[in-house]
């Protein structure tokens, strides 16, 4: 069976058709992460981010957020989708990643840089995210992540 294609919904504004919002629903399969990241990043060309931050920070942060939502939020359940909504503002890019899971408490994630955790294969996602973007916040339930990359 051919896997479903990812489809972006893009909202534009003004006579030049500048992209202001991008929406994407991603099946809960980690194999989609790379393609989803490229689709979104390519549409962010009007975003007020340097080429370097667009190439590295935005892509890595979105890959982290999607992987967490698919694996820990939706627990790889093929019937569930992860929803991505990107707002391209004049002074920032705001990314929302929402899953159908029960959420989690980010305060309970252990520090991956202490010696006893350094050789663990997993557990660096949230730590890396916090260093890549200017703001990381969750809704109360913990299943909706909001990332902000400010202009620059």
């Amino acid at each position: 069976m051919t896997p479903p294609q990812l489809r972006l919904d893009v909202r534009r504004t003004g006579r030049e058709g500048r992209i202001v919002e991008i929406a994407l629903a991603v099946p809960s399969d980690l194999g989609y992460v790379g393609e989803a990241v490229e689709l979104v990043a390519t549409q962010c060309r009007d975003a007020p981010l340097s080429p370097r931050r667009l190439r590295f920070n935005l892509r890595t942060a979105l890959a982290e957020a999607l992987a967490n939502a698919i694996a820990y939020g939706n627990r790889h359940d093929a019937a569930k989708l992860v929803r991505v909504r990107v707002e391209v503002l004049a002074d920032a890019v705001r990314i929302h990643v929402t899953d159908d899971g029960d959420g989690f408490d980010p305060a309970r994630v252990p520090d991956p840089t202490v010696p006893e955790n350094l050789e663990r294969e997993n557990g660096r996602g949230l730590f890396v995210l916090r260093h890549l973007v200017d703001s990381v916040s969750f809704n109360d339930k913990g299943n909706d992540l909001c990332l902000i990359l400010r202009a620059g």
């Binding site: 890595t60 982290e64 996602g125």
Partner: protein, 117 residues
């Protein structure tokens, strides 16, 4: 995104050579198993010296970092060594902030990494 595997015989011929794996594009949750399998296959065939070359890599997520940690452990258990090379400034920063720069031997270029064995 793909991986290239080549054998550099400067460190010795046959199993004594250095396996250089190039990461083209990104190393993330969706392709990390492919890299892991390529390295484990070479390890199984007797290779002991490995360089992972990130010269052509755009980004690495935490799953990619995790697979490198896991491979490094497996290679060390077999008496081998894994080195990393070609990290750009952003990737170098990623290793530093996660303190993984203390776990890996990181060289500037793949040529330097091969020569250092």
């Amino acid at each position: 995104m793909s991986f290239s595997v080549k054998k550099d015989q400067r460190g010795g011929t046959g199993a004594g050579g250095v396996v250089v794996v190039g990461v083209d594009g990104q190393l993330i949750v969706g392709n990390r198993q492919e890299l892991k399998q390529k390295v484990l296959d070479a390890l199984e065939s007797g290779a002991k010296k490995f360089v992972i070359d990130f010269t052509r890599t755009g980004y690495i997520d935490s799953s990619g970092l995790g697979v490198l940690v896991s491979l490094s452990k497996k290679i060390r258990e077999q008496g081998g060594d894994l080195r990393l090379a070609g990290l750009n400034e952003d990737l170098q920063t990623l290793f530093e902030l996660t303190k993984l720069d203390t776990l890996f031997s990181i060289l500037k270029t793949p040529e330097e990494a091969v020569a250092a064995f």
